[in-house]
């Protein structure tokens, strides 16, 4: 079995290294094909492992080698394949493999083709380490690895110049990449503190040891650990207030957005909470906090998606919102539901993004949905798949989102957090609305693109083929709910519902109702030319389109003062104190050397004189240290 584990883990690395060999060269199709093929190797290995874990119920635990062994600290490079990590592995490799194939078409004319595949495979490798590690240190390595790959990929088109926020809200790819990276560093600090606290108090970082010991710890301490770990999760999963980077990260190529910023990396935070469920189970108050933040983000992000005009940003906000849903489930103790939603969301969100990629290709990278419309005629298949994904996102039966999202709403209702339930319910309505607003504006209605001189075309067949499995999964994956629950609750705690029968049916009905009415509203309004222009002058619209002014607030209250502080530290502290000290030392040494150079006159007499002085010194020392007086 270990063979398959290593195969699943290391094939992406091999693909990455292979592509990296050709990194600086012009496009070579072979890199894309090899990287994709290796990803499929990884996918099939993961599926095999899934089959093994399902059939035997055992988990596989291997130790590659001792990584850090210092004093009492002993961290092996160990990997575990259990019910949770195998689900993550399958999800990650499925989406990654399909995105790799898709990228061969999407990046066809990009000069960084080889480089792109190198980064993308490296990302998958890091993500696999993250989900497969059997200890917090390995998780953190993967965590940082995906962060790095995200930085590389968001800033993939780093040559684009900076522009003002009015033209492009994310300024430039490199700016967005840096923002994402720095924002994650802030969160990672919290996570590191959490890991240190764990090590400090339990003396180990192995999951099984830590989770066994955690129940014996002081509740306050566990809360502290939980909060710090969650801060890390907040950064990676872009929860409020560290959420701004995700929308800006849409500057990266669209396959990247699909893979990293929708399906896999951003769910790492949720994975962390799920993985650390023994910690969070013992601190329900922190769980509630997580759930509250999640619910807030679910509504908050959905509201921003309502008015945005940028195709990818709308989907990015919807990702944010869905991550909020996952956190609600995880925070309320329904870990398996969070994982379930994570999986289904990965499928339909990746599909949505890849569809967006097709549209972008057709529209020469135009992103404004008000410049599109009526594309369904030329892009039939893309339109169908995007509608499937949107239906799944909106949570309409029988698509995947219906099963997972409804379950989350049920959990919120069931645990008697009615306010949370209401917020999520509202979010569900908004989700349905903005999804179909997007579909309507892009694929139906007036063909506005003709005014701007675009000539849309359908994407290559293999790109559509790569999307097809995702579309199928977006439809059917919901039906695996029962077996999924049975499978993962072997490891994760079971969630027991108190409400039954008619209440559940009523809840499903209400949720479906608001989703349908959201869709109905969108279809009705936008098939008739949309909302009037008057809306654009209202305060609410301005607030939403400017993302609640949060990026501007961050810039004014954090970036600018920090830049000023840095400038002071540079000009006043560094140049005047540190540099001066260093220069002083250097000058002293230099001048001493310059003055002392005279000693080396080459004159034998003088040398002899120095020798005699040395002799005298030695004699004095001989007297001072003579053993017998």
């Amino acid at each position: 079995m270990e063979k398959y584990l290593y195969l699943a883990l290391f094939s992406p690395l091999v693909g990455s290294l292979f592509a990296a060999i050709f990194g600086a060269q012009p496009k070579k199709l072979i890199t894309g094909i090899v990287a994709s093929a290796l990803l499929f190797v990884s996918l099939f290995s993961s599926l095999y492992l899934l089959g093994y874990v399902t059939s035997t119920g055992n988990s596989i635990h291997v130790k590659l080698f001792d990584w850090i062994s210092v004093g009492g600290l002993n961290i092996p490079f160990g990997f575990v394949v259990d019910q949770v990590s195998v689900i993550m592995m399958v999800t990650v490799t499925t989406v990654s493999a399909l995105v790799h194939v898709y990228s061969i078409g999407y990046m066809k004319y990009d000069e960084g083709f080889n480089r792109f595949f190198s980064y993308l495979s490296a990302f998958v490798f890091s993500m696999m380490i993250l989900v497969m590690s059997d200890n917090f240190a390995g998780l953190f390595i993967g965590w940082e690895g995906v962060g790095l790959c995200s930085w590389l990929l968001v800033g993939f088109w780093y040559k684009k110049p900076d522009v003002t926020r009015d033209i492009n809200p994310s300024i430039s790819p490199s700016w967005a990449a840096n923002e994402a990276f720095i924002m994650n560093r802030i969160a990672d600090l919290g996570m590191l503190i959490g890991i240190f606290l764990i090590y400090w108090n339990t003396g180990s970082l192995q999951y099984n040891v830590v989770f066994k010991d955690v129940s014996a710890l002081n509740i306050g301490l566990v809360s502290l650990i939980g909060i710090f770990l969650f801060i890390g999760a907040m950064g990676k999963s872009a929860q409020f207030p560290l959420h701004t980077w995700l929308a800006d990260a849409m500057e990266g190529p669209t396959p990247v957005s699909a893979l990293i910023h929708a399906a896999t990396m951003v769910t790492a935070g949720v994975y962390l909470v799920i993985r650390a469920n023994p910690i969070y189970s013992s601190i329900p108050d922190v769980g509630l906090l997580i759930a509250t933040i999640g619910a807030f983000v679910a509504v908050f992000a959905a509201s921003m998606a309502l008015v945005n005009q940028d195709l990818k940003r709308i989907i990015a906000y919807s990702t944010l919102s869905q991550l909020g849903y996952m956190f609600v489930a995880a925070g309320l103790g329904a870990y398996w539901i969070a994982l379930f939603h994570l999986m289904t969301h990965a499928f339909f969100k990746a599909l949505l993004f890849l569809g967006a990629g097709n549209v972008m290709h057709a529209m020469d990278d135009e992103l404004n949905i008000f410049k599109m419309g009526g594309l369904a005629k030329t892009m039939k298949w893309t339109a169908i798949m995007m509608i499937i994904a949107s239906l799944a996102l909106a949570g309409i039966y029988p698509f995947a989102g219906f099963f997972s999202k409804d379950k989350i709403l049920e959990v919120a209702f069931d645990s008697e957090h009615y306010l949370l339930w209401f917020m999520l319910w509202l979010g569900a309505g908004m989700t349905a609305f903005y999804s179909f607003r997007l579909v309507m504006l892009v694929f139906f209605g007036e063909e506005r693109y003709k005014k701007y001189g675009f000539h849309p075309h359908e994407a290559y067949w293999y790109m559509l083929l790569a999307m097809l499995p995702l579309a199928i999964l977006a439809i059917i994956s919901g039906f695996f709910e029962e077996s999924f629950e049975h499978f993962v609750t072997m490891l994760l705690p079971e969630y027991h519902f108190h409400v039954h029968g008619i209440t559940v049916v009523a809840l499903i009905g209400i949720t479906t109702l608001i989703a349908l009415s959201g869709i109905g509203l969108a279809v009705y309004k936008y098939s008739r030319g949309g909302f009037s222009e008057k809306w654009k002058d209202t305060f609410v619209y301005k607030l939403l389109i400017n993302q609640y002014y949060i990026p501007i607030i961050y810039e004014k209250f954090f970036s600018k003062p920090y830049a000023e502080l840095s400038r002071i530290a540079w000009k006043e502290l560094d140049l005047r104190v540190v540099d001066a000290t260093v220069d002083f030392i250097a000058n002293v040494i230099y001048k001493t050397g310059f003055k002392g150079r005279v000693v080396q006159s080459g004159n034998l007499s003088k040398m002899l004189k120095w020798m005699v002085i040395g002799l005298i010194t030695l004699l004095v020392l001989a007297i001072v240290y003579s053993p017998v007086r």
């Binding site: 150079r597 080396q600 006159s601 080459g602 004159n603 034998l604 007499s605 002899l608 004189k609």
Partner: protein, 100 residues
């Protein structure tokens, strides 16, 4: 009564006269003279210790020092001759090619 200290002090004094010579002279040949004096001063010390401790080792040391002094003079004078042929002077201050 002449003790070991007498000899040692004498040896020290002669050694320091040699030091004066080394420091003062600019004539390389004179420098060699001064070196001989240093060696001889030490020889006296060795011989004296040999006598007062009834041990022949001191004398043998002095013997080897004399041998070394003889070879040093032979080689040193040879080198000095070459130097003189090239430079035309045996003044110490002309030897400054290693000036820092």
């Amino acid at each position: 009564m002449i003790t070991l200290s007498h000899y040692l002090v004498l040896s020290a004094i002669l050694f320091c006269i040699g030091l004066v010579g080394i420091l003062r002279r600019k004539n390389l040949l004179m420098l060699f003279f001064a070196t001989e004096m240093l060696l001889n001063a030490v020889n006296i010390g060795f011989a004296a210790i040999s006598k007062y401790y009834m041990d022949l080792t001191g004398q043998l040391f002095a013997f080897f020092i004399i041998a070394i002094a003889a070879s040093e003079v032979a080689v040193g004078l040879g080198l000095l001759i070459i130097w003189y042929k090239r430079v035309g002077s045996i003044d110490l201050d002309t030897m400054q090619s290693m000036h820092g």
